[in-house]
């Protein structure tokens, strides 16, 4: 019963957040950024508590599997963007992902983070369903990974467009790759507001970046833990 209440609560708050998002375009009003704190507050203040919510987490999270499989459809629909820009997209995404991972590990060392948190940080550029699935492979907590992905994507979405404009990066492929490939789902939503071409390259980049993280994050994390 408490699980059903938790699921209904989650879906209702999410549905409400979509309405708010439709009114305010800022990344600060993204569905996850709005919903998660509200749900946290409600379950803390009611007898549901996090212990009662845990079964709902398992049930809803199960659908991250088929949701990831479904990413093949927009990737396929926009594949021409990749085929015509293979070199800039693949090279820039590998470099950007690697820079973000290595930067996080180096800063983590300097600031004294435990290895498991460094490992969680290495997955933050991947879209949440893939990052969460990769968590056990690098020895990171899936929940922490999900939280970091959302926070990272929020920051990327918030500063990304201004940063790119300040650097006079105007090409749709470059902006789409940076926003979708580094800022995953929230970045794609932002890129879509810039136009169709930027949105299409962001969608393709998000999927491509998830594959790049799948390939490079586990070896880089294992390598760094031996240094």
């Amino acid at each position: 019963m408490i699980t059903i209440i938790s699921i209904v609560l989650t879906v209702s708050i999410y549905a409400a957040s979509i309405r708010v998002r439709a009114r305010y375009r800022s990344p600060l009003f993204g569905p996850v950024v709005l919903s998660a704190p509200v749900i946290m507050l409600i379950i803390t203040l009611t007898p549901i508590h996090i212990t009662g919510y845990e079964h709902a987490i398992k049930i809803i999270t199960y659908f991250l599997g088929p949701a990831t499989v479904a990413l093949a459809v927009p990737f396929y629909r926009n594949r021409h963007v990749l085929f015509t820009n293979v070199v800039p997209m693949v090279v820039s995404l590998v470099a950007g992902t690697l820079a973000s991972i290595v930067g996080a590990i180096l800063l983590g060392r300097v600031l004294g983070l435990p290895a498991s948190i460094e490992a969680a940080l290495s997955l933050k550029t991947a879209t949440a369903p893939v990052a969460v699935a990769l968590a056990p492979r690098v020895g990171a907590n899936p929940t922490l990974v999900a939280g970091l992905v959302v926070l990272y994507a929020l920051i990327v979405t918030f500063i990304g467009p201004r940063l790119l404009t300040a650097l006079r990066i105007r090409g749709a492929v470059a902006r789409g790759s940076a926003l979708g490939g580094i800022g995953s789902g929230q970045g794609v939503a932002e890129a879509l507001t810039e136009g169709e071409a930027t949105g299409a390259s962001a969608v393709v980049s998000m999927v491509l970046a998830a594959l790049v993280v799948t390939v490079i994050a586990p070896p880089v994390v294992h390598l760094s833990s031996n240094l």
Partner: protein
Amino acid sequence: MIVAAVLQLAALISLNLLGRWLCATLHLPLPGNVLGMLMLFALLSLRLVRLEWFEPTARLFNRHLALFFIPLVVGLLALPGSLIRSHGLALLVIIIVTAVVGVVTTGGIATWLERQPRDEQ
């Protein structure tokens, strides 16, 4: 309509399960859901399945992807509070710095490679 949606959902779940089973059995170094996605992309590219068969349900999943990981973010409540107290500031610094690094590297290199002159064309 509903039958089609159920069949599409069943197909997506089956591909996910098949991907997980293959990865576990063959010890592949990638998550099952990612393999499932690659298999669906291959099926679409080889025209063994039609885009229209998957499109409505896939669009629903893509549009509402956030819903499926919101509960995980809520689950942060169960993590020890000491984690945020002792490492929260460091995490925030790292996230902001690497967000800048990731965006500038990706956008910069993509722009640079796009602008390279091509001789043969």
